[in-house]
Symmetry: D3
Subunit: 341 residues, 6 copies
């Protein structure tokens, strides 16, 4: 079998830490092109992994004709780059949020369908062992129905993560469109939908720029969610958790509680009304390189090679994005927004 | 000095666990009357502590003419009983929520003023050592400004706490008016106002009856708050935390985070950006009886005897109540509600 | 529904701690007679719970005609008392080991069948939450096939447990027939059969009296077992674990290990080859009276009332006994003994 | 003093991790030759440490005439290589099991005696600090007589340890003769003999190949031992502890229990009947290079240089081997085997 | 054998908690008299245990003629009461400090000798399991010579311990003569002498009344000691450790350190230079009544009955007292004092 | 601004670990010269950091004319080198003890004043986060007055720390003058003065050479201190804590206790009489390079550049030295020595 020729569009931190090394470690993949407006970044990867460097993706798509692309650009470019790739016949793995408007997301799905390509959205939280285990427990029924929940994602902001530090595109509204909500909030809207196998019915949100200087994207959001099932809960995204970082979810259910990501050693803890407690250590997984990976790239490659459904489809990415977009609408209108009837 | 003659109106759990034993332990107090429609309850206390038993407070006020009363009735009776007591010249300690409408609260304040009596609201969270310590740290300035927060209060519901179990007035809307929000939420609106020395500017809330059977009062509420200072956060009240009980508050600030009530041994934990961590064990306080008490009764008695301002004034109680009332309004209207401009 | 009339034959420690209080707590049961050659013991229970006291079970059966009996006598009396009760039409719950020879066990099963009564053997280990949980995990298949195991039960001996201390029947060979193997070993042969859903194929055993004075019953046994499935392991029973008491079982399987009863807080621990660890706290179960009970008495009563199969049948008790009897035969013959082909 | 000229016969994992580096670190030793049928392995060590490389030990012994050799070959070669070395006048350190039959072991002892050389068997467990400490405590008498014990050694098998992985000689019966019993079981027969200063009187064993594929050597053994003193216990060796690895020994004694290797921090724990507990942390020994070594090589070199008795004599090695050989005989015959009268 | 007739002179806290209950629990003792100037206290014990009550010991000795007495009076009465008892032919157990001057101590020893009675001083620290274990380890030689040490005893003062609270004789100089040094310091001078089997050669001390009000006895002392062996160290006694109570001793030796009483669970910890650590849990000793006792009374009674040497002789008590007296002399003179040449 | 030209006099361990790397990391400093009689050491640093190497400081001062110097020589050279530097117009940072007699210290202060240079003494304990936090707490008043204390500093001696090992100048009396007291004791006299803002009034000390071989400098000192405030306590310095190393200070105060450096995780622990406990983790400070430094060099450079007072003045260094000198005098005279009236 010949290898899948993959191009990476956008060479920032997410490419450096996840996409490029995971493609490089995948025996079925050949990295054939790297794209970044800062051409030196693209060239550095080309030297390291082979393939060519480009400053723009149109030229790359035309010249290289890759089998598949990862779209790791600033948010505003997710849709145009993905659609261009789809039209060039390339399978697309696009980072989250998959787009910055619902229309864009819809257009991406249509483009994928029309061009017969595999479109996957990079919602990596679904692949993390604690979340996989949590879903498995929920489905076992031991906890009964979820009644109320809390899910949050907060860290000190992309200043310390991005390759450009405080000058990152994350802080430029025209490129990022969204701040903490696009970076972190969409992870949690996707997680809660997937975990509960439920849809957000209605949302209320306070979204604002509370502390980051020189930017007008949101650095904090506090939201309330009502699910179709009737469960209610809170969803929080923050770039100003300078200490007390948090990527946790707690589900209070009819028969007890499930705590995910609240304890450093035991990533999933179930406490039942009958007094039993189960502690699951699923994340501190030794030296097995594959397990330390995000699993997203492998899922994308396997999906293409097996001809199966995308592990996280465009429809799923669109639904999770819509929750976030409605949060902004709530903030703007002072009203709760109906996400799904 | 002759002792303060105190009558207790309402002989349910809060009287049993807090008001009656703490009055009995206070050397400056004489318990002179107990009131409860279930007259046997009142009689049992009268036998134990002296004083007379009554089935209604009007008769008691007329016959006993107490110096002071505790109002520990169902929520709907808080205002009428307090106003009657004030008119009878008795100082009033009223349980939270002080009333069930803002108009009632205002009338209570006016009645207190007109009759020259001391009106205090029983917001005991302000007196708990972890909260006292937390406020002291916040005021020291070491953490800088509060940016975002989370405060929640959840337990399995009053079924297990009330002297009447599942038949408690807590579940009867005409007496309780409010459920978890009146029982627990108002504690947290009061706490966050007092701790931050800030006012709630705007609130959005999902309030509902998710799991308790045979009642139409709320058993869960998820709220978002915007403070006058600009800080945003979540406030949660729940009667369906069957496991995973929680009375915690986390404040993410400019210089670090303060966690209150999140750790069983160390009730207040401060983690600063410079790496220092302070752990305060303030609550597991040995055998000193006074410190194990709620401090509310002592504060009330001392306030009366010293002629000072009430430790928790009617105005404070009214402001904390208003946050809760606006939450219900938000739920009803589908809009955010402006609490204070 | 009229209550089940139950008589308890034998009023030693197992009756005191388990049978009598659990019958007393069962709403469907009326205790009607107590039998013990030390008549004062029987009388004391009769005074406490009602019913009559007898020194011998034949008289009791004839006079009282109970619906059901518990046989809690020394081992040598298990079979004759059970058969007598069966012939008197009483359902029988017999303590373990159900008999002291395989022929006796067979006769008991026949007597039960012929008289249409419910015969259950008191193998309480099957009802303990850690064992219930362990079996559930094994059946889920996550661990794969059991390859090798270790199961042991050791404590300082019945000197400290029996109502007669060092003068207990446990040390008199004519009444006990077996020592640690009858007391503890049969628990483990039953557990391993039930847990693995497998039968012991072959056994080798060293059984002896190593330390207890003035007795010729065994105080220690070290056995090796080969199961029908091919798994091999060790089974140990001891009355001389003066410290380091142990009632644990470890199963090494294809995909990892399960440790039962090795950790004071987490009664079942599963460690998989892929690095995940699950810790189950199932035994420290709060105040729920039913769960603190052995469950054996309730299972017996429910079995009778529902007309279902015995929770632990005579056939099961016989098979677990046979393992122990073969261990003695191995010790005597210096050979491995085939238990089941 | 001129240095001791040492040759290493067999360049697999045990040479790599223990013999070669420990000889290299010993100031009184000069490494003069390395022997391995895979000549590249021998050459690599010769390049690193000086000396010559050989494919067979006869040539080496003839040409190099070493003062001493380490025999680190597959089990089947232990005896012939040792005898050849002895006849060439070289002192011999032979890995365990020292031979694969009792006759071979006897021949080695005779060859050593006739040629006046120092013969030592590499039973390194005797030198481990926890075992040294355990023996010291046993000899102090504080625990009284050992009554019953459990000793086991299990890991996932040599697939992960050997330089040849799953293709290792460990799995080839003609070279290994024995599997887990020769690799691990003999460690424990030696340890229990040495620790208790007692001899195994009788053994019963189930030995089999339960899970390893493509091999007919044993991967599991469950044994029962009766000591001359009367103590009984179990001895287990396994290559299929894929999790739950174990190299522990527990001794239940008249006055309490000693647990060796059961706790990660405290390698020897003594619990007495009078309530005292002693915890000994003897193994996590800082940076002292000598203590991190096996001590075997130093003991061998010191024994030669001082002219003293071998630290672990051929007679000792033979006795520990005999226990293992009898285990195989028990498995084969279905009987207990008398090891020593 | 007829029982030993014992009288207790002084009925304060030490009698209540130790002497009286331990005599009462000793099968060889009959309590025949209780003496206290507060006659009600003596009468209460007489009612409880039998025997007679007296307000003064002379009358008691004359009338009752006890076989033995415990002297539990204020310090100043230790010598006169002990000498009177000795002259009356009674064996004497005297509390520490045995006297308030060296001359008194000498006179007591002489009186005991002349009257042929058994004189023991109540230095209970010698009998505590951690100290017994520590001495045993020191004598084993594993630690080598003691080089330097620290021993201290501090608590919040006798205000909370004495039956008379802040009005205790402990604070009245004419009765107590010494404060913290007599109460606590003499425990530590005795312990260090006994533990090291060494004598104090020279002492320097700051002794003063730093915080207790209305008393002129010492509440704090900081001392330096030079032992005959050359070891130096500090000895501290304090009645103002309002938190951070301490009864610990650390010995830094040639081969490592021994920490006694520094850890709540492990009362004796030995850390050697070679990296080994031994932790001894000897004090949390279950329900064995004898071990929970001070052992002092049993040692006294056994000494008398066996006719052996006193467990803590008058000479030993005198030597430990002398250290304390020299500390006062050092404080007074501004010089180091030679205790023993 | 041109950089501060700094010369380092003495290139032993303290220069290697603290002075040289911290100057090198300070952007306002240029290292211009290194002085050591072992010229190779000086040359090695010159090669690494630029600047010149010298064998004696006089030549260096004359040729290089540095702006500032660090004096890191043996103790006996501290004063002459500092005075020479001052006369050459260089600012001086001198290691502790600043001198070996009080007269020298006075002369250094005068020389600094006369030459208008900045003189700082390297008492780094004042800058350690636990001590900074402890002082802040003491000044808050929460603990009230310090009543008694214990401060000690012990390790296995400079044999393991010095670049010359056991041949270090630390053991040569003519260069070191003082041993453990000059190395460690002066840290604690300085700390206790600074922490309590109090002066030592009187001292008694046993100082001696107990275990180190081939040296006549002190390896142990046990001292008692009386402060001007009346507080008393112990101060210990030792080079023979072969295990049980200790750099801790405990202050028992009117309202509770403060423990500094007694717990590995929480460097400052405050326990109050009212039951509250505060634990401060201030030392394990992440990756911030500046905080891991001693802060001494930065304080020196900042002091010079800002023209402010020295962070630790000559007067402070002199007062802390005087305590140590009086300890030696006490040992010599057998008397307590008045340090300050």
């Amino acid at each position: 079998m010949s290898k899948l020729k993959v191009a990476v569009i956008g060479c920032g931190s997410i490419s450096r830490h996840r996409h490029i090394p995971e493609y490089a470690a995948n025996a079925n993949v050949e990295l054939v092109a790297f794209v970044d407006p800062v051409i030196e970044r693209a060239q550095a990867y080309a030297e390291q992994h082979g393939g060519k460097a480009y400053a723009d993706y149109e030229t790359m798509l035309a010249e290289v004709k890759p089998d598949a692309v990862s779209v790791c650009t600033p948010n505003a470019v997710h849709a145009p780059a993905s659609i261009a790739a789809a039209k060039a016949g390339a399978h697309v793995l696009v980072e989250k949020p998959m787009a910055v408007t619902d229309e864009e997301a819809e257009a991406m799905i249509i483009a994928a369908k029309e061009n017969g390509i595999h479109l996957m959205v990079g919602h990596n939280q679904r692949f993390m062992p604690p979340h996989v285990k949590a879903k498995q427990i929920l489905k076992s029924g031991v906890l009964g129905k979820v009644l109320t929940f809390r899910t949050s994602f907060g860290h000190p902001g992309p200043d310390g993560w991005s390759v450009d530090g405080a000058n990152s595109w994350f802080f430029r509204k025209e490129e990022a469109i969204m701040g903490a909500m696009g970076d972190l909030g969409v992870h949690k809207s996707d997680l809660i939908r997937w975990l509960l196998e439920d849809e957000v019915a209605e949302i209320g949100a306070f979204v604002g720029t509370l502390h980051k200087q020189g930017t007008d994207v949101d650095d904090n959001a506090s939201c309330i969610l009502r699910m179709k099932s009737g469960a209610i809960g809170t969803l929080v995204a923050s770039w100003t958790y300078y200490k007390g970082e948090d990527n946790s979810t707690i589900l209070w259910c009819e028969n007890g509680v499930m705590k995910i990501g609240t304890h450093p050693d035991d990533q999933v803890i179930v406490e039942l009304r009958n007094g039993t407690v189960e502690r699951h250590k699923v994340g501190a997984i030794s030296t097995n390189e594959k397990q330390l990976s995000s699993e997203v790239i492998n899922a994308f490659v396997n999906g293409i090679l097996s001809g199966g459904e995308p592990a996280v489809s465009g429809e799923e990415g669109r639904a999770s994005l819509k929750v976030i977009l409605c949060a902004f609408e709530s903030q703007a209108s002072g009203k709760f927004i109906t996400v799904n009837e």
